[in-house]
Symmetry: C2
Subunit: 341 residues, 2 copies
């Protein structure tokens, strides 16, 4: 069935509260919805969402890829999605658009053949558990937020750090005390030097905090620094900003630089994300899946990908919970941390 | 002196004849002119030019960076260009825009202080010699073009290959015969496998063709492949598509993957290009400078950069000679291959 049209539309969301990471503060989020229609009227949807400080994409830049994408895929058979994905690899400057368009193609294809996207991806699981993320804020607010999250049933709590060593240690250690059964993902978003990163981890470890993933402790380009931290730190170290493409993943694996890779569809597209799953599984590198600022529509993509492949030890798919979204558009059901397909 | 405004404008040029490389054929070129004005009326100009197949940027995408750039630099002192360059590093998705804006800043700054850009860059030379490039075309047309170029005085001739092994060998070998005093740059634009690339070089070598740079023989992501070719080939091997940022350059150097790096301002911006010069010189890696589809305005940027730093063994700054441009806008004088500042 041929693809009749593909259209981009800007969307705007406010965060319920400003969200701060070591790279900056965000109060709102502009995304792009991709609507793809087949000649028989079947519609596939996708969402692109990114942060300028991470990828250099803005929503205005991404909108301009619409014409290019139309030229690449309109008039083509949706069944030849593999061929279309190859073409879309050229969207080097706009990986989030690549992700949204690839997912819209998969969505339309799945509707045509009568399966759901997570089945397309392998149907490994129909339930996943997500963490919830606490941005950088003062100790009091951090603890209030952790208490709320814990009461809501979340047992994997992600805490942003990397801005103030001493305060960050205190925030994590005190959080641990009020969420005794929780495990923690700690994400520095490149905020530490390698030696600071090692010291930070050892300090948390001496306080018996169970950190299950230590994300991007150092600068994205400092692969040797990541490796240094990995080999001198009691916690599993993950690359996030350091890895966008499958080529980045292969390099990290070859250099033995990380224990974990954080896959985000918005960095890699669906096609490279699949390749990274295979690379990581072959190498014994563990996987988590993360998000940018997706609404329920975009988080839905990652949920189906994660559940279908069953490849992820941890799921950090919580952006939609922070956005003031009028209409829930996910093809999943959520109860606290539990997501059911 | 504060920056009062910065504006982008699209420009359009036709190539005198279609230009084919292993990645595709181009008949026209859309660029962006950046016009920066200081509060005292001083104007700085820059040009962004790129190829979608190389960088994933389109002119539409690049236009959308205008607002972002305005937010970054309008109202700031042009004398603090180092600070501004740091901010512009965030333009990860649009390196050609980074280049154009950085040059416009330098241009305005130089006018203010009464020097020319090549002096800003070190004033090492006031004359450089460029090659001229022959795209992929049949043997007869190739020879006709080489003959013309040779008669025009060019003694460095660049030939695009990587599409048809046998025809490419013949095109280079026969070109050598009608341009006996010329040396050749051979550019495969990723068109070969490593083994093909080695075989190709050995074949040319057995025919006594003097190839002074063998550009990007294999896929951009195949750094080990580049290294394999480098260590099994009689000619100096250069990375082009494999290197955009200073981080890419450092990796290539650390992996001993290349003899040469092809710097293009459009891939790196002025700031990273300067860093790459220092990295390469420290490592004993040689440098050439190339271009995308710049008009005389954009080529002017690379000429000033190249002459000022004096860092380049070869200059491939010829795009403006292939474009049907109404008004020459370079701050240089050209006689055949010779460019004078």
């Amino acid at each position: 069935m041929k693809i009749k049209s593909v259209k981009f539309e800007k969307t705007y969301y406010r965060y319920f509260e400003p969200f701060t990471i070591s790279l900056g503060t965000h109060e709102d989020q502009e995304n792009i919805e991709v609507r793809l229609e087949l000649e028989d009227g079947t519609v596939g949807l996708g969402e692109a969402s990114t942060l300028f400080v991470i990828s250099g994409e803005t929503v205005e830049i991404m909108m301009q890829a619409e014409k290019t994408v139309q030229e690449m895929i309109v008039g083509e058979d949706v069944e030849s999605y593999g061929k279309l994905f190859s073409r879309l690899q050229q969207l080097r400057a706009t990986p989030a658009i690549k992700a949204a368009v690839e997912f819209a193609i998969i969505d339309a294809f799945c509707k045509r053949i009568g399966i759901r996207p997570y089945e397309f991806f392998g149907g490994a699981k129909d339930h996943i558990e997500t963490d919830l993320t606490v941005g950088i804020m003062d100790l009091e607010k951090t603890l209030k937020k952790v208490k709320k999250i814990y009461e809501d049933g979340f047992r994997i709590i992600k805490i942003k750090v990397g801005k103030n060593f001493k305060e960050d240690v205190e925030r994590v250690v005190e959080s641990k005390k009020i969420a005794p059964e929780a495990v923690f993902i700690v994400d520095a978003n490149q905020g530490f030097t390698p030696k600071e990163a090692i010291e930070f981890a050892n300090t948390l470890h001496s306080e018996r905090v169970e950190v299950v993933v230590y994300e991007q402790p150092v600068n994205r380009y400092n692969i040797e620094g990541l490796k240094l931290v990995r080999f001198n730190c009691p916690y599993p170290v993950a690359a996030d900003e350091s890895i966008f493409t499958k080529y980045d993943a292969l390099r990290l694996i070859k250099e033995e630089a990380v224990d974990f890779i954080n896959i985000k569809l918005m960095k890699s597209g669906v096609s490279d994300a699949l390749a990274i799953v295979h690379l990581a599984q072959s190498a014994g590198v563990q996987l988590m899946i993360g998000c940018m600022g997706e609404s329920s529509l975009g988080i839905n993509q990652s949920i189906h990908f994660a559940a279908g492949t069953g490849a992820f030890a941890y799921h950090d798919l919580d952006a939609h919970l922070s956005l003031d979204e009028k209409t829930f558009r996910g093809d999943f059901r959520q109860e606290g941390p539990h997501i059911y397909l």
